[in-house]
Amino acid sequence: MKTSQKFFLLFGLVFAFLVVFSILVYFRILDRYFSRLLLWGAIQSIIAISLNLITGFTGQLSLGQAGFVGLGAYTTAILTTQGWPFLFALLPSLAIAGLAGFLVGWPSLRLRGDYLAIMTLGFGEIIRSLIINLPDLTGGASGFKDIPGFHPDGDLNRLFLFLGIFISFFLVLFLVVNLIRSSYGRAIISVREDEIAARSMGVDIQLVKIGAFTLSALIAGWGGALQAPFLNYLAPSSYDFLKSVDFVVIIVLGGMGSITGTILAAFGLTYLQEWLRFLGDYRMVIYPLLMILMMLFRPQGLMGGREWTLETFIRKKISDSKVGNHG
């Protein structure tokens, strides 16, 4: 299939998805609960993709991803409550998160493995303490209340939230997938595979690491910025170490270095948590159990490093139809 054809097919599919679901969401054909979960899954996916970029593809374990998310969320919350439109608030949110990523990226040049992980963990905790200790700005430990949504009218707000979150989701996907499948992506992966060899092949690994950290933080901040109008209320506990670990769990389950795996796991775990509600507190046992089983039987994650692409489905379809013709 030609590249241009593929592009139009994908674009058409995304457009159709947005139109169909806009209608389903706006006219409440999808129940409120289900559509909330769908949107939350998309936000989780965006953040998990950002973590996969730095940890799965670049090979730098980040345990402070929730810190970047928090920066994006609180910046947007502060600005939109002061009357800024969301799109204008989004830009500084991305800039602040990206800048934080850039700063965290610097020490990453000298730190490896566990040491880097501890450093990013420390960063995440700094952000959480800042949120708690700046009550005038952030509402402190009691949280940030009454963040405006996208529109005062409930139905329109739901529609705009859906569009805003899913357009962001597809944009992030477009950005990360195209970057990974280019020379820049190969350079990023070469740093994960073998830093010494990458350097000897002329790859500027410092630039790669700082660039990857910056972009990853920026995308995480984007996910955070979407949380503010979606939740209308932010709590500092949503940006602590345990939340960072949640995203690590998602990419480990989905497969390090697999975007499709990340998305599957992000939506899957979002729904799983809800389906298991009937178990009460016991559902907290299921989650780690799943993790243990996964490590025992499929340590490379759901997808390993592989991806589902359009071709995967089309080729399957063609071979199916060929079999059908012969039979």
Binding site: T3, N178, S182, A187, I189, S200, M201, V203, G257
Partner: protein
């Protein structure tokens, strides 16, 4: 004759250990020089100094680049040195195992890629042109080594001999002028070693290369090197044409030990 690389009195010390002391080397353009010595003599350390992995504590390394400029290599980062035209292979294979054979070679093109990351994200024409160009070039190079049919295999799935070859292909893809081969024949059987010798001769002619190689296999070293440097305890023990080095009593002593009472 023009010298391509002039190393003078380079020394490096790790803790109390003098790994390399007063190492000097004058590599003329298009020369093929062997660096030999017993285990732990400091051969790989010399490579690591030349390629910027270690910073020498004393001494200078002068390199004449494509435009005839003289450049000090000490203190430059490894990627910068590769960009200037020095490429290397590794003694313990360091391929990008989870990438395909072709992708391994493509990584070497990254530092001179002609599109920026935004052009990549938006798939602008320059992206497609460049990707096509570097893929064709890489496949051509793989073809020369008889590996084009393996292009889409994962590097980790290749047999050992092919992995060694891919190390050389990947280094060549950076378009070097000076190629440093760190034990290219390690683990190869005599037949593979013979083929490798022919291959080294061939790429030297084809790509107008200057080659410095570390090797333990004496048939290879004596067979193709024009000049040999013998390193022992970080010092140059002897230097000269293969036949001179082979009969040098100091060298024999370093390799075989002293004959007592002789």
């Amino acid at each position: 004759m023009d010298s391509l690389l002039k190393v003078e009195d380079v020394s490096i010390q790790f803790g109390g250990l003098k790994a390399v002391s007063d190492f000097s080397l004058d590599l003329r353009s298009r020369e093929l020089v062997g660096l030999i010595g017993p285990n732990g003599a400091g051969k790989t350390t010399v490579f690591n100094i030349l390629t910027g992995v270690y910073l020498p504590q004393t001494g200078t390394i002068l390199y004449r680049d494509r435009y005839e400029r003289l450049i000090h290599l000490e203190g430059l980062s490894p990627n910068k040195i590769t960009q200037l035209g020095l490429a290397r292979t590794f003694q313990n294979i360091r391929l990008f195992s989870n990438l395909t054979v072709l992708e391994n070679v493509l990584v070497s093109h990254h530092f001179r890629i002609q599109y920026n990351w935004l052009e990549a994200v938006f798939r602008l024409p320059r992206f497609w042109q460049e990707e096509t160009r570097i893929k064709e070039q890489s496949l051509e190079l793989l073809e020369i080594f008889g590996m084009a049919n393996l292009a889409h295999q994962r590097a980790s799935q290749l047999p050992y001999g092919q992995q060694r070859k891919l190390e050389i292909v990947r280094a060549l893809a950076t378009q070097p002028r000076l190629l440093l081969l760190d034990e290219p024949a390690a683990g190869m059987n005599p037949q593979e070693t013979r083929q490798l010798m022919e291959l080294i001769q061939f790429i030297r002619e084809r790509f107008h290369l200057t080659i410095l190689l570390i090797e333990h296999d004496m048939s290879l070293v004596m067979g193709i090197c024009e000049r040999i440097l013998v390193l022992d305890y970080g010092r140059i023990l002897a230097e000269g044409r293969p036949e001179e080095v082979r009969t040098n009593p100091e060298v024999i002593r370093a390799y075989l030990g002293e004959v007592s009472g002789a």
